[in-house]
Symmetry: C2
Subunit: 318 residues, 2 copies
């Protein structure tokens, strides 16, 4: 065992004992994607714990951070250890101004049983899709009971990240665009629980009706999960107990239907795929020179791919 | 030349003559990702035309479709041929209800010089990131002067797609969440032109100030592009001439600074990478069995990747 191996094992031991600084350093190692990611992965096998991984997503302005904060308060009341991962897929900044709304989470900043971490996609090999499952593993292995992943927006990256959660909450707020706009972003498909936040505002019932009519369009198997719709006013803590109950029910349903294991296997698959494709992309580099030849129509992109791979790219359905 | 080659070449010839049905069929071939994608790529080399590729992005509700429609009207007045690509990265539906707002574009539906197409990510090998550059190539080679790509949301997928455009318009509307929320989604980085739509509403000046203070935080080289901010009321056509002028100015700047060629090379690189990685992913499958072993902590994900690749995954920085 090298000295660097020993250092990682020591950090891992301290993280498991609740040392937040050690945990932070392990996550930084994973984020940086350097040689030590292998050692971190080896030092922190995920023993099958009962950690609940909960994703929160929704358009800017619906109150994701406020709802996350209220959920932390709710789970802390149950005595559970909580980690929050705030994911900004394309934030050009880290720290500083951008973390303005993180300030609202200050009430939990001094609680040693609450760990809060922001992640942006900068400097992640293979992007957030690659780094997030690894960070999740570090948090799970360090013994957190609840992991909340908060993502900005409802694009494909968010859908991918939501796919890492056991339960995904899709937040809406009255007056943030009509139902069709919401469904356009594909939220119906990723939602396990709908949350209408700011439900004391005008239009909450209209939002509720919009979700119901969208749900009515989808045909379901009899034993399929039917997303509940929970109304909250997160900044006053209203509806948060009901939301936690809805998450618990979804978790029970997952366990009963073998879905919990399936989702964990999918999460592992996403992590392995990101590592495999990252390694392959480094071996088969698309050079500026060959890109230039395609841009100037010297060759077509499939012939360029053949050149890079050294054999003919097979197209499925051939 | 096989019969299927001949059929593709004939479709390509008809598309170049302005036959919209032939063009639609070529795009379907590309979207389906079957064997004929190679033939389409070969039959439609992009001769270096002056097509302007313009991306529009922004949160749901800011008026992207209305602005797109107004831009189509503006460019048609100049006698230009216009294609619109409406990209729903995660729409679970195609056609039907989801295309509700496409109805607003009906005024252009019968114009033979305007081609409108919706794309969702379903059934695209390698996702939209793979299919979109190929569809762009078909449209460019078919002789469109302007290609508008409208994307929903501001997630990573949208940022990637925006990266395919020569000029990216980021749309905001008053009262759609504060400036910090907007920047969280990384829009400052992808925007070439900011559009404050619905600028007749309360709060338009506050939105303008928010963008200006965000821009002030970023240090720039003296010769760097400084994003203009254009106010529009798209449903009344107000500000659209100014917007088209801003796009023209950005294009001139790109050409002067060699950026137009660089962006086109990047677009080619994205297309080749998607083809290369798609082929590699099909050769190196992450099985359920190995995912299960990682999920149950039998092996760590890096060892799993080693097994799949048949040698040790190199981690950069080792």
């Amino acid at each position: 065992m090298t000295r660097s191996d020993e250092a990682v094992v020591e950090l891992a031991d301290r993280a498991k004992e609740g040392d937040q600084r050690a945990l932070g350093r392990l996550i930084t190692l994973v984020e940086n994607g350097g040689a030590q990611v292998r050692q971190v992965a080896a030092a922190l096998p995920v023993v099958h714990r009962a950690a609940r991984v909960i994703g929160l997503t929704g358009s800017p302005g619906v109150g994701k951070s406020t709802t996350t904060t209220a959920l932390v308060t709710g789970y802390r009341k149950q005595g559970l250890r909580v980690a929050v991962l705030a994911v900004d897929p394309s934030s050009p900044f880290t720290g500083g101004a951008i973390l303005g709304d993180r300030v609202r989470m200050q009430e939990h900043a001094l609680d040693p049983e609450v760990f809060i971490r922001s992640m942006s996609s900068r400097g992640h090999l293979g992007g957030l899709a690659a780094a997030t499952p690894q960070v999740l593993r570090v948090l799970e292995a360090s013994g957190f009971d609840v992991i909340l992943i908060e993502t900005v927006g409802v694009g494909q990256a968010e859908v991918d990240i939501a796919g890492l959660a056991d339960t995904t909450l899709v937040l809406l707020a009255p007056g943030m665009g009509d139902g069709i706009q919401a469904v356009k972003a594909g939220i119906l498909e990723v939602a396990d629980v709908f949350v209408i936040n700011k439900s004391d505002r005008d239009g909450a019932d209209a939002t509720l009706r919009d979700i119901r009519s969208m749900m009515a369009l989808v045909t379901r198997e009899p034993n399929e999960w039917r997303q509940p719709i929970v109304k909250t006013v997160a900044h006053r803590g209203e509806g948060i107990d009901e939301l936690i109950e809805a998450v618990d029910k979804h978790r029970d349903w997952l366990a009963e239907h073998g879905e919990l294991d399936r989702r964990r296997r999918e999460r592992a698959k996403a992590e392995i795929s990101a590592i495999v494709l990252g390694a392959l992309a480094r071996r088969h580099v698309v050079t500026d020179e060959i890109s230039e030849r395609v841009a100037t129509a010297d060759i077509d992109p499939y012939s360029a791919a053949d050149e890079i791979l050294g054999d003919a790219v097979e197209i499925p359905g051939t």
